[in-house]
């Protein structure tokens, strides 16, 4: 057992964690970053499509804020929207200054394109792997102590209780190869553990739900968990990873059905495939249900710059199916494509944080998509998750370091670390059998299916899903781990089961449909009851929900007024009654 102290501890080494470390290390000396894999080769930041929001000096950001707020259904913290865009302008400059490859035009200017669903907001494409390599160098140069291959299982609390009545004071975990335990006692802890996800879905199988669940257990307030359902068009010809849908459609890729029809014309005659992602996914499902599938991606008119950039990405990333000889030439033949749809929060849910990235628990901050991106409301933006990760990381690192400056070393119960070590390592002492961590992950992914089945939710279905998560969680508490590698996967399975249950409970509690959240049994949007942030906190008596009004008295943009109950866009698409003039 190793025990160390830190002024600021950061859990997770993707964009959120690294930017937090970069900033914190400018203010305090002792910054520790724990990463489950290896910083620069882990997380969604590394293998993403490399799309991020790109505001530059000449842009009038008030227009961008207005677009995010209206597209986000006004369910935004508008101060965060402005902070995000102003912060991202600086992050882009820093990336460019470090020489991170960014797609540029013939004049050497950053080549920007309209963000999916947007008119004003612009994105850019960069090399995510190169960006992460550069960021690793930068944090090491600033004296941050990176400890790779640590699977963090629990936050430390000053009273040793879960949920705590005190504060968070660090974290506990173990080395994913040696199994050696590590406790880091910290004045301030930043959670930057990334998205909620299941294994086998997004090619980032070490990113699951660890951080959000450990924060929930400690007592941090989560919000809008029912909006954790998400996905994108990522599967080509039923078995290949497509790459970035956002980039492809920005360069002219289209979706057509088996009749050759560009069906998005029916749903969004302005933006087509670039419309609100959940609506495009719902339109896909509708085409399939009505017998007009498969749906194909038609890349015959994609511009040359797309293919040029793809070659650069391929050199950095290793491979792209679109440039391989394993499939027919996508420049000639439309190929079947489909979206995933399941647990993938992408910042639409998570820890509720304020402008300084502080959670509801003293001593705990959050950055990246483990936090709810209140900047963008219900809008699922291309580019914002990465932008938010960078800027929330910077803000969290700054706030945590400032707080740590005036603090003494925190105290915690003497036996806490030993108690945690005993519980965390217990599966290594249990017999292993046919049911192991892998089978539990198989069971969890059966909760999800193809988008046609998973998008419509209902009370009976959600109750059944909750029962199934309970079963996995109970089994995980009984089975053994064959080795330390298996122990990591067992904790991950336990965390996914608990996180998925919270998501399904939240979905059951929300008796309406809204934008991407679709309940067959409550197909209407109900502003009277649900125009709010939907909180969830662990208490001694179990999970407790709350509804928090959005503080419009603070904000410049006011909503046009509560609409009477109306079919949500996805409900209307599924019923065949969608009229694009009725929806933003």
């Amino acid at each position: 057992m190793d025990q160390i102290d830190a002024d600021v501890l950061i859990i997770g080494g993707g964009f959120g964690g690294i930017w937090a470390a970069l900033r914190a290390a400018e203010v305090v000396d002792n910054v520790v970053l724990l990463e489950k894999a290896y910083v620069s080769r882990s997380g969604a930041s590394t293998i993403s499509g490399g799309v991020t929001t790109c505001p530059l000096d000449d842009d009038d950001l008030s227009k961008w804020v207005a677009e995010f707020v209206t597209k986000g259904g006004y369910m935004c913290d508008q101060d965060w929207t402005a902070q995000l865009l102003e912060g991202q302008r600086e992050r882009v400059k820093q990336l460019a200054g470090w020489g991170v490859p960014i797609s540029r035009n013939d004049k050497g200017e950053i080549r920007r394109f309209a963000s999916r669903g947007m008119i004003e907001v612009r994105c850019m494409q960069y090399s995510p792997k190169k960006a992460m390599e550069e960021l690793r160098k930068q944090v090491i140069a600033r004296g941050v102590r990176i400890i790779d291959r640590i699977c963090v299982t629990d936050l430390l609390t000053t009273d040793g209780e879960y949920p705590t009545k005190g504060a968070v004071c660090g974290a506990f975990g173990f080395n994913t190869r040696s199994g050696e335990c590590l406790a880091v006692r910290a004045k301030q802890t930043i959670l930057a553990t990334g998205a909620m996800s299941m294994k086998g879905q997004h090619q980032i199988d070490n990113v699951v739900c660890d951080g959000v669940v450990m924060a929930y257990r400690a007592g941090a307030r989560l919000v809008d968990l029912e909006f954790s359902f998400g996905g994108t068009f990522s599967l080509l010809m039923s078995k290949y990873t497509f790459g970035s849908y956002n980039v492809a459609i920005a360069h002219g890729a289209r979706l057509i059905n088996a009749e050759g029809e560009r069906f998005m014309a029916k749903y969004d005659p302005v933006r087509y495939e670039r419309g609100e992602l959940a609506r495009v996914v719902a339109a896909f499902a509708k085409e399939m249900i009505d017998g007009r599938g498969p749906v194909y991606v038609d890349m015959r008119n994609v511009d040359q710059s797309y293919w040029d950039d793809l070659k650069v990405v391929q050199q950095s990333k290793g491979a792209s199916i679109l440039l391989s000889d394993r499939i027919p030439d996508p420049k000639v033949s439309p190929l079947a494509i489909e979206p995933t749809w399941g647990l993938w929060n992408g910042g639409r849910s998570g820890l509720m944080i304020d402008l300084k990235c502080r959670s509801s628990l003293p001593g705990l901050l959050a950055a990246g998509v483990a936090a709810k991106i209140t900047a963008t409301g219900t809008h699922a933006s291309a580019g914002v998750p990465t932008a938010f990760s960078m800027t929330s990381g910077y803000c969290a690192g700054n706030a945590a370091a400032e707080l740590a400056l005036s603090m003494q070393k925190p105290r915690m119960p003497d036996d806490l670390v030993d108690r945690l070590a005993e519980r965390v390592r217990a599966p290594l002492g249990r017999a292993t059998g046919k049911i192991n961590a892998d089978r539990l992950h198989d069971s969890l992914t059966k909760l999800e299916s193809s988008v046609v089945e998973t998008m419509p939710l209902s009370a009976p279905r959600l109750r059944k899903m909750i029962e199934q998560t309970d079963e996995v969680a109970m089994t995980a508490d009984r089975v053994g781990a064959a080795d330390v590698h298996d122990l990591v996967k067992l904790h991950e399975a336990r965390n996914i089961a608990e996180c998925a249950k919270l998501v399904y409970l939240s979905a059951l509690d929300r008796t309406e449909s809204r934008e991407q959240f679709y309940r067959e049994d409550f197909p209407e949007t109900d502003d009277e009851e649900w125009f709010c942030w939907h909180g969830l906190t662990s208490t001694a008596g179990g999970p407790v929900f709350d509804r928090q009004s959005i503080p419009f008295e603070r904000f410049p943009l006011q909503p046009p007024g509560k609409r009477p109950r109306h079919l949500s866009p996805i409900a209307a698409i599924m019923r065949g009654s969608f009229d694009p003039t009725n929806y933003d």
Binding site: K36, A37, Y38, R41, S42, G43, T46, I47, K129, D148, R149, T176, R177, M198, K199, G200, Q203, I204, D205, N206, L235, M237, S238, K239, Y240, T241, I256, A258, G260, M288, G293, P294, Y296, D298, R300, Q315, K317, G318, A319, I321, S324, R326, P328, S333, P334, L335, A336, E338, T340, D438, H441, D442, T445, S449, S450, V451, V452, H485, V488, K489
Partner: protein, 93 residues
């Protein structure tokens, strides 16, 4: 010699020079290092999530990762479709 196993990932041990870069590359710890042979081996090949990070990092081209995702955890709406339908005749539209 190539270790094929039932996994998307394989290592050509004739090309592997034992640099262990793949041990850092892999987010899910697929690779291990055999101290006797001084080469990498597939410690947990079933955990390959086809991210291709190792491909770009391997200096000798010893690692291959298949494009096709065969995981039972991936769900396709086209699972029951005739494979011929997954490509549209370009002259038809």
């Amino acid at each position: 010699m190539t270790e094929p196993l039932n996994s998307p990932v394989s290592i050509n041990l004739d090309l592997c020079d034992g640099c262990v870069k793949c041990l850092n590359s892999c987010p899910t710890d697929v690779f291990g290092f055999n101290t006797q042979t001084q080469k990498a081996y597939l410690a947990y090949p079933g955990d390959c999530s086809v991210c291709f990070l190792c491909i770009g990092d391997c200096p000798t081209g010893a690692i291959k990762v298949d494009f096709a995702i065969t995981s039972v955890r991936k769900h396709s709406a086209y699972a029951s479709y005739d494979p011929d339908l997954l490509v549209l005749d370009p002259s038809a539209c």
